[in-house]
């Protein structure tokens, strides 16, 4: 009996861990490639080797073993009193470090990456905060209120999601033009704020909140806004965390629309800026992945920040029936 339970647990963990590895692989690969040696000069043959995109692929930055190799050689040289050889290997150690971080160095020294970063960050924050507020309000009433037109609005929202975005690019462009928003950050923020998948998400989540709770608040004489703010929002925390991360990520990663509506390089967001560095025929992979790594860091931070809200929303505050 006990054995059965242990083996069941073992199987569960095995499945989950394998899947987790597959899942994390792309993210790992981004960082590993960003830090991969790209111009390593072999000491004996004098050949310059790139481990970026080597086949079969190197599974970790080759700078790490190479660095320790040189370090060992330098130590041996030092102990045998060969100062020239020691200096040579020390120099190679520096070279390896420089090459390992050369992608980041190129980004931070040669481009306006900080400006792009700032633009992306403030747009993503504004949109995320806006979406969380607007979509929770809308999702709440669509789930918990009875009013004429409710079902129509709900289905209209779903229906518009079924139209591929590629086809509305042109009319959206015209709309932005008509409003005089071209080449401003409003051209990114307002269309992003109008995205509706969050309304749908919040509505579905709210459906699972027992209505009794809201009734109780109403009996206490709380206003609509107070009920929403003090009862609904805290209960929706897990969904808010999901929506927050999802929105931030979407806005942060989007590049086609920003490329289309922005002309002034000072307004570029991070993905747009990174793309303007890409050559016509060749992707310089190390630089590309360094950019992707820089872009991933804020999202990882956002994820960790929101992570604590994932705790089971409804078990808090004696809601348990």
């Amino acid at each position: 009996m006990n054995l059965q339970r242990t083996s069941g647990k073992f199987i569960t963990y095995t499945i989950l861990i394998i899947w987790a590895v597959i899942s994390l692989l792309p993210l790992y690969w981004v960082f590993s490639t960003a830090l991969q040696l790209s111009e390593y000069k072999d000491d004996t043959t004098g050949q310059v080797i790139s481990y970026v995109e080597a086949e079969p692929p190197k599974l970790y930055p080759m700078g790490i073993p190479k660095y320790f190799e040189e370090w060992g050689k330098a130590r041996d040289a030092a102990s045998s009193g060969n100062a020239a050889a020691e200096a040579h290997h020390r120099e190679r150690m520096d070279m390896i470090v420089t090459d390992t971080f050369s992608g980041f160095a190129a980004l931070f020294n040669g481009t306006s990456i900080w400006k792009w970063f700032f633009n992306s960050a403030y747009i993503a924050v504004v949109v995320t905060v806006g979406i969380l507020l607007l979509d929770t309000m809308a999702g709440y009433v669509l789930a918990k209120k009875q009013f004429p037109g409710r079902d129509f609005i709900f289905w209209l929202i779903i229906a518009t999601m079924m139209i591929p975005g590629q086809i509305t690019l042109v009319p959206l462009f015209k709309m932005v033009q008509t409003l005089g928003l071209m080449d401003t950050h409003w051209a990114l923020i307002l269309p992003d704020l109008s995205m509706v998948f969050g309304v749908f998400l919040m509505r579905q989540y709210m459906l699972s909140i027992p209505s009794d709770l809201l009734e109780a608040a109403k009996i206490d004489g709380a206003s609509e806004w107070k009920t929403f703010w003090t009862v609904v929002v805290p209960l929706a925390k897990p969904a808010l965390a999901t929506l927050g991360i999802f929105t931030f990520m979407n806005v942060w990663n989007s590049f086609l629309w920003p490329i289309i509506v922005l002309n002034n390089a000072d307004l570029y967001t991070l993905p747009v800026g990174l793309k303007t560095l890409q050559d016509q025929n060749l992707a310089i992979f190390k630089l590309l992945m360094s950019g992707a790594a820089v872009a991933a860091v804020p999202m990882i931070i956002v994820f960790i920040a929101f992570q604590r809200y994932f705790i089971r929303g409804l078990t808090v505050g004696g809601v348990k029936e």
């Binding site: 987790a20 209120k145 009319p171 209505s211 992707a292 992570q307």
Partner: protein, 314 residues
């Protein structure tokens, strides 16, 4: 407000006279003014940046798009859409893709969430992170990685299959495997959002229900099937609908990994729409194709809605 607002559809009392019905409708609307105000800001944005562009696309689908002037052509674009062999092939590929990936990925999300849910706090947050965090990587990067996974010579996939003595294939470059390679890829990318949503919803199921079932002598699978799964319905509906819409609009993988080839093997609807619009500047035809895609998605959406809500809600 009545007891369970999600079940009742109309609270307005039926009245014989139209006028009094209108009046009661207005009264009802006035009573619920707070609800409209809650919706208003989102609706302004929604109408300006989504509804109006969609209407434009609908209108243009009856025109031959020209930059300086467009010409009304009636339903010509729709006729052309259905007469176009490429469209039919793309439709068939998209259907295949959707009908496999949607059910499998929903089932996977449910299974993985079920496996994670009973774990301890630390393991739970570890796996939640492991499955959700990768969604921060854009599809562009994921596609690059998977291209390498499917590499004929050095790819992980062939390496893995070699243990089972399955001969190496050039997965993305053979007509009979290319679409399946894309399907397998979207199945193996963990459904992070689904897992998170299911976990959140599972957390809101009262423990007491399970205890009652236990007393009745229900086994753990029975409890899962009879309590967990039905109570997750709103989440399932959300995920299925979202996944359905996403699958019907599969695009990024296609353009980055196969470009629709070899031949027509991985041509999908949105890739075709994209080409029609942006390569050929035939926005009228592209819009017609998009509207057809919309109708198909809607039909499938309604079918799955009916399937999930066969019995009454809740």
């Amino acid at each position: 407000m009545k007891t369970s607002p999600t079940t009742a559809h109309e609270t307005g009392k039926p009245s014989a006279k139209l006028r009094s019905r209108q009046k009661s409708l207005l009264r009802e609307m006035w009573k619920q003014r707070a609800a409209y105000l809650f919706l208003l800001p989102k609706m302004i944005l929604f109408i300006a940046f989504i509804v109006l562009p969609v209407i434009w696309a609908f209108v243009i689908s009856f025109q031959e798009f020209g930059i300086f002037e467009s010409e009304w052509v009636g339903i010509d674009n729709y006729v052309a859409t259905f007469q176009n062999e490429a469209f039919m092939i793309a439709l068939w590929n998209t259907l295949k893709y959707t009908l496999v990936t949607v059910p499998v990925s929903i089932l996977l999300a449910l299974t993985l969430a079920t496996l994670i849910h009973p774990l301890g706090r630390i393991s739970q947050s570890f796996f939640r992170g492991a499955f959700y965090l990768p969604t921060v990587t854009s599809m562009v990067i994921i596609a690059m990685v998977w291209r390498w996974v499917y590499n004929y010579r050095f790819g992980l996939f062939n390496y893995f299959l070699s243990f089972f003595n399955i001969p190496a294939q050039d997965w993305l470059n053979q007509s009979d495997t290319a679409l399946w390679a894309l399907i397998i890829m979207s199945i193996l990318i963990p459904p992070g959002v689904g897992i998170i949503m299911y976990l959140a919803a599972m957390g809101s199921i009262p423990e007491s229900l399970y205890e009652a079932a236990k007393i009745d002598g229900a086994g753990s699978f029975q409890r899962w099937w009879q309590i967990t799964v039905p109570l997750l319905k709103p989440t399932t509906l959300y995920l299925t609908m979202l996944s359905l819409i996403g699958s019907f609009q599969v695009f990024t993988q296609v353009i980055l990994m196969t470009g629709g080839g070899p031949g027509d093997a991985t041509e999908t609807l949105v890739h075709l729409i994209y080409k029609t619009g942006f390569r050929d500047l035939e926005f009228g035809l592209a819009s017609a194709q998009a509207i057809v895609l919309f109708v198909i998605t809607l039909i499938f959406g309604l079918i799955q809605y009916r399937l999930l809500y066969r019995k009454s809600e809740d």
